[in-house]
Amino acid sequence: MTDIASRLSGAGTNALELRGMSRYFGALAALSDITLTVKPGERRAVLGSNGAGKTTLFNCITGDFLPTTGSIRLFGEDVTTFPAHERIRRGLRRTYQISLLFGGLSVFDNIYLACAGVSRGRFSMLRPRKNDALVAAAEDLIVTVNLAEHRETLVNVLSYGQQRQLEIALALAGAPRFILFDEPAAGLSPTERSDLITILTSLPEHIGYIIIEHDMDVALRVSESVTMMHNGRIFKEGLPQEIEEDPEVQELYLGGGHG
């Protein structure tokens, strides 16, 4: 079988397929033997205490670093060894737990960069014109995430909540098909939190995502399935109610030092 045929076999079946994925940092197994399947358009919450390996899971999926063992399929294609930008160009997006923005640039420029990254215009040495498609896309996006009035503000001087909103905007640029949100609600005010929930629930149906969220209430409102992680392993998977009522989960959450 040719390489391409093997890579594309089963195309379109799942948005994400992890098989036996592990990641070691020295002797520490931050992830061990993760097998996980997410269908297209599915919205999944990942829960787990501090250090459970949730962010490491995201880093492996986006290609920030490679897994030690195992394989990653994105929309049926084996992307295990692909560099991050190749995965992003296939419709994967992510946000960072600790905002990773361009502090010296304006809000608009940040969003413009995100739009350029997934377009062919990224190498253009010509300055955009007024009717440039990328500029238009960025203008739309800035409205979606309620940052239009801060268009020209330097990102450094935005409030924490606004920076989190911008983090999300960067992940919505282009035509995302599958998004990884790393604790987008952490540290937000109640209003900002409900804005976030609105943004997530009003995403087009075909866009699936995984959201890492410590707050059960938020997680259960924006997801249709839940994966619990503990010590680098998947510990439980199921529907939100099942997970919520699971005695083991309750013990872990209440007794695991995570109020």
């Binding site: 986006t62 290609g63 920030d64 560099p83 991050a84 930008h85 992003i88 160009r89 997006r93 992510r94 960072y96 990773l100 923005l101 361009f102 502090g103 010296g104 640039l105 304006s106 608009f108 420029d109 413009y112 960069l113 995100a114 350029a116 990254g117 997934v118 215009g121 990224r122 190498f123 253009s124 040495m125 010509l126 300055r127 955009p128 990328l134 020209e152 330097l154 960067l170 640029a173 282009g174």
Partner: protein, 357 residues
């Protein structure tokens, strides 16, 4: 690299460093006018040995400024890339060394030379962009050193230690571009074009992304940018600027020899760029101006003062030390500091805290 302070690079913000748009345009016109009418006031020596040299070395420093300032990549290979263009102009064009020079006419030889320099620069980029900080400096320094030794020892292409002489600027549209005044205008024109081009590209999607990669390569990859390819492309662009500078360099000296691409000169270019300031393309030319003026006159000044003239290098060194010590970005940094301070003192400009800047 934290050499450059981070400003906005949006296309439509008028007021960045407290210089309002009309006064900035005014400065451009004034400097431009002075440079254009300069030959009416200055002699042969000032024009050819100082101002033209400043423009040529400034272009090479500009190529370093582009990579270091916008890309965070301190490449010590930019003079060498210029040197490649210089040697190739001599090899493909005409010179006194007829066994080496192919003798093509200048408008074929020069584009070939620049393209070879760009290919060479792209290869330098491909070798060095995966490294960071000090390792980039070391790898590009090693390439420069290797090229120097190659040129010094190879007689088939580079004519060894003595290099290639009689590489003359062309006679074109009835003008001998080798004469002092036409050559000055040629340098002025190409330096101005390079300057404008770098400024323009810095605010294009490509340039904006390069600055994004400088500040946050991991995020840029997560936005779909191929960080490595982008950095290499930046080298290709910078090599265009360095290559044009290299062609002017060989014409200016009417010769090219290993001495012109030695490590000492590599360091000179670095000093020019850093002393001028990496935050803005103008820094490269400011740095080249200060360097070349000091280099030319420090000796005389010392001797007039009755001090031993051979210490002029020391004077230059101290001058640079002072600038680096007082400023976070060379002369540009000093300028910004001075503006901020004078703005604070000036009651007419109103209170700084309240004006929303």
């Amino acid at each position: 690299m934290a050499v450059v302070d981070h400003k906005t690079f949006d296309t439509n913000d008028a007021d960045k460093e407290g210089v309002s748009e009309p006064s900035r345009t005014g400065v451009y016109w004034a400097v431009g006018l002075i440079l254009v009418i300069l030959p009416a006031f200055t002699g042969e020596f000032i024009l050819s040995d100082i101002v033209s040299r400043i423009l040529v070395m400034g272009m090479i420093a500009l190529s370093l400024m582009f990579l270091a300032g916008y890309g965070g990549m301190v490449s010590l290979a930019q003079l060498t890339i210029a040197g490649v263009a210089a040697y190739m102009t001599a090899v493909f064009g005409t010179s006194a060394i007829t066994e080496i020079s192919i003798g093509l006419t200048w408008w074929i030889a020069v584009p070939i030379a620049i393209i070879i320099a760009m290919i060479f620069g792209t290869m330098v980029g491909a070798l060095s962009v995966r490294t960071e900080g000090i390792y980039t400096i070391m790898i590009t320094l090693a390439i420069s050193a290797a090229f120097f030794f190659l040129a010094n020892q190879n007689y088939d292409i580079f004519n060894g230690f003595s290099g290639i002489n009689q590489v003359l600027p062309p006679v074109f549209v009835g003008v001998n571009w080798g004469n002092t005044i036409p050559f000055y205008y040629l340098c002025l024109f190409l330096a101005a074009v390079s300057y404008a081009l770098v400024l323009y590209v810095s605010r294009s999607p490509f340039g904006l992304a390069l600055q994004g990669i400088r500040d946050n390569p991991r995020r840029m990859a997560a936005l779909g940018f191929n960080v490595t390819a982008h950095r290499i492309a930046a080298y290709t662009f910078a090599s265009l600027v360095a290559g044009v500078g290299g062609v002017l360099m060989v014409w200016m000296n009417t010769a090219i020899s290993p001495g012109a691409v030695s490590i000492a000169v590599v360091i000179d270019v670095l000093v020019m760029a850093v002393v001028g300031g990496l935050g803005h393309p103008v820094g490269a030319f400011l740095g080249a101006a200060v360097f070349i003026i000091l280099e030319t006159f420090a000796l005389d000044v010392l001797e007039t003062l009755g001090l031993p003239g051979e210490r002029f290098q020391l004077l230059i060194g101290i001058g640079f030390l002072v600038i680096i010590f007082w400023s976070d970005d060379g002369l540009l940094g000093l300028w910004r500091k001075w503006r901020e301070r004078s703005a604070k003192r000036d009651p007419l400009l109103g209170d700084l805290e309240g004006d929303g800047k």
